[in-house]
Amino acid sequence: MKRMILARLVWTAAILLGVSFVAFMLVRALPGDFAQAAAGAQNVAPEVLEAARRDLGIDRPLLEQYLIWLGQAARGDFGNSFVTRQPVLGELLPRFIVTFQLTLIAGIIAMAMGVATGLASARLRGRADWIVRIYNGCILAVPNFIVATLIVLIVGLYFPQIAIFNYTPFFTDPLANVSGLLLPALSLALAVSVTISENTRAAVLEVSGQDFVMVARAKGLLPRTVLTNYLMRNAMTPIVTVTGLQVATLLGGSILVETIFAIPGMGQYLFDSITGRDYPVIQAIVLLASAVVVLVNMLVDIAYARIDARAQT
């Protein structure tokens, strides 16, 4: 077990190094740079733009820039934002917490909806199964930014008393903060809930057919006891795995959902940084998001190994 964790950690570091390199080169391959984006449609002399590039260090050879960045990052310094000239890390952390909150709420909603509908569809069968599966198919076909836009449209038109674009910081008013995040979290959660629902359905169906469930029923245990102690307990392993793997989907989706709902989280920050070509910020966010995804995957693997003895090799 220890060996496995150690190996995974080394592997994780290698992945992050690769991600940082690709992200670094990709953002620089985008046409247009910060100096030009900041000057906008003004008639700015080329030497002024050149001076700005020199000042930011983006006129140097790409590999040199990368190594400088890597050296600083290794010491925990992710550079300063080009826009605000403040350390990226200091700006990123409060936003990361907002996104963490949003994805957490979305994860809980997705889990609740997914497990409930999946279980209903597997246990009730018949018409309920069909309704859930058609619903799942429809939701899966609609990208989260369309769901988010529809929510904005519907709430804006029919429920004007609900403030949509009204993010409140947690420490100002915790209740307003959480309730403000519900709709964005819902639009983020829907697609994920479908994946969880489908997997729950499959897992429950699979476990239902197994001998130990039949034995439990034959012993005359209450259906509720069979469900919670035998069925769900065994079906939970794949469900947890799938949910863990959806963290990447949630983080990716937060970029669009935060932008649409004007939530000052990491996703919105990334969107602004990409359009403004604020390289240090883009790199830091991509790295942080990758780290979260890789780490969650690792934890899922470890948890899986602990739950299921067969995976402990």
């Binding site: 985008l30 046409p31 247009g32 740079d33 100096a35 030009q36 984006a37 900041a38 000057a39 906008g40 449609a41 003004q42 008639n43 700015v44 002399a45 080329p46 030497e47 002024v48 733009l49 050149e50 001076a51 700005a52 934002s81 080009f82 826009v83 605000t84 000239r85 403040q86 700006e91 403030a163 949509i164 674009f165 009204n166 932008t259 004007a262 000052p264 919105q268 920050y269 602004d272 359009t275 403004g276 070509r277």
Partner: protein, 500 residues
């Protein structure tokens, strides 16, 4: 003037007396990028700089020039300006303001090592001399009618304190408000300058900018009174908001921005003047004003109406009439009897007004046998293509307010960065632009500027569609004493007060 700007908002200027104190919250759509007026390149910084720094001159509400840090100036000849400075003015750090600071500011701008974007527009200055602590002399290489306009513009004419470092993050000016704090993407806070030199001003004790990156959040923040004032990009949204909430005041100000189509004349087919003229004839500019701006604008030429000699939107301009048949005939003459496919028309995807106008133009041109493919593009790569001259045929990026008409004409000077990008090489035009710049008499200069605009329209070196105010400013009527300014800055926050 198309838009009448009331002297005081809501027309109760004479009834109410200004009350000191209170806070004004302004919704802003972009963070500043640097707060040193000399080294800043981003347009988004101007709004903040204009309240922190002041210059020798300033614009009044009617876009006339009045003294500010200077009390008067005289011109012994057309190339020399002597300014008498206000005495007893202090910078926010307590330092006294003197002629040395003026000299320092301009020497720093003109030093190539500073890499100031302002260096180009002040390049005609040959020397700045301190005559005595409160008198400063500017000597120019040639008469330059634009010079005073640049000085009056914030932040281009802003005076910085001599020997103070790190202005980009710790701004120190002479303006009505003092920098207090800045949390990126969240809040920018200013407090009243207790030593401000205009008696009794500013009325407000605090000005807070809150950042809302998109227009829908900005307008709902205004509606929910999370902010007192903002500016919107779409006139139709501003009009709708004032209609539904009569306590909202919307004053668009003068037209300050134009929507041009930049033609790549370096290659076929736009190297042929007949194709360019055909495009102009195929365009129904008035229809664009009506549909895209809901009538809140005017037909545009090279310089907007708020500039000296700016086009008023109704006067005759060559090839401005809408005549698809004549366009077809010109195209046939140029060798395109069956119409022409101009390929990609690149527009700023993030600007809905631009995209909407481009769609209408596409339909209008179709009627004259001109086909384009719309290509909305992300802003950064679009600017890259525009400034390097690598766009295929047509590209639109709006031209914002500049302190002087000359700065707009500079886009079309042969062998300049943009002249090369567009592919314009016309000695006659260069001479006309140079002559207008050195014409110090305002009326004569207006006539020259008008002549240049006709010449540009006649040659269709750039195809202008319409002109409009850059922003539609809007605020709750409890905010008094504010006036929007065509110069795209909120100078009149200094006379703003709260009536509650």
């Amino acid at each position: 003037m198309l838009f009448s700007a009331p002297a005081f908002a809501a027309g109760d200027g004479e009834r109410a007396t200004p009350v000191a104190g209170g806070m004004l919250t302004i919704g802003a759509d972009a963070d500043p990028i640097g707060l040193d007026p000399t080294t800043v390149t981003a347009f988004s910084s101007s709004d903040f700089l204009a309240l922190i720094y002041t210059g020798l001159l300033r614009w009044n509400a009617g876009m006339g020039i009045e003294p500010d840090l200077a009390v008067s100036y005289e011109m012994p000849d057309e190339k020399t300006y002597i300014f008498k400075l206000r005495e007893g003015v202090k910078f926010h750090n307590g330092q006294d303001f003197t002629a040395e600071d003026v000299k320092y500011t301009f020497d720093r701008i003109l030093d190539p090592a500073t890499a100031s974007k302002l260096r180009a527009q002040y390049s005609s200055i040959s020397a700045v001399t301190v005559v005595d602590p409160f008198t400063v002399k500017f000597e120019l290489e040639a008469p330059n009618a634009a010079f005073l306009n640049y000085l009056a513009t914030a932040p281009d004419g802003a005076i910085v304190p001599k020997g103070v470092e790190d202005l980009a993050t710790k701004p120190v000016g002479t303006g009505p408000f003092v920098f207090e704090s800045y949390q990126p993407n969240q809040q920018f806070t200013l407090t009243a300058n207790p030593d401000y030199y205009e008696e009794g001003l500013p009325y407000l004790s605090k000005v807070v900018f809150r950042f809302y990156k998109d227009q829908s959040t900005l307008s709902s923040a205004l509606r929910s009174k999370a902010i007192d004032m903002t500016w919107l990009k779409d006139p139709k949204v501003a009009a709708l908001m004032t209609r539904t909430s009569p306590q909202l005041v919307s004053a668009p100000g003068q037209t300050s921005r134009t929507f041009p189509i930049w033609l790549n004349m370096k290659a076929k087919p736009f190297d042929d003047i007949r194709v360019r003229r055909a495009l102009s004839l195929a365009t129904d500019r008035e229809a664009c004003v009506q549909t895209v701006l809901g009538g809140s604008g005017k037909v545009g030429a090279m310089i907007p109406e708020s500039q000296v000699g700016g086009y008023d939107g109704v006067g005759e301009m060559p090839y401005y009439r809408h005549d698809p048949e004549a366009a077809k005939k010109l195209l046939a003459e140029a060798g395109y009897p069956d119409g022409i496919d101009l390929g990609d028309y690149i527009v700023v995807a993030a600007n809905p007004l631009d995209v909407a106008c481009a769609q209408i133009l596409q339909q209008q041109w179709q009627a004259a046998g001109i086909t384009v493919k719309l290509m909305p593009m992300e802003t950064a790569p679009l600017l890259n293509q525009w400034s390097t001259g690598t766009w295929p045929t047509l590209l639109s990026v709006a031209l914002s307010w500049t302190p002087d008409a000359d700065a707009i004409f500079q886009y079309l000077v042969s062998d300049s960065k943009f002249g090369k990008a567009i592919g314009v090489s016309d000695e006659k035009l260069d001479a006309m632009i140079a002559a207008a710049r050195s014409e110090v008499d305002a009326a004569a200069r207006a006539a020259r500027n008008m002549e240049i605009q006709r010449y540009i329209a006649d040659n269709v070196y750039i195809m202008q569609v319409y002109q409009y105010p850059l922003r539609w400013e809007i605020w709750w009527d409890s905010v008094k004493g504010y006036e929007p300014l065509a110069a795209n800055i909120r100078s009149f926050v200094r006379t703003t007060w709260r009536d509650e």
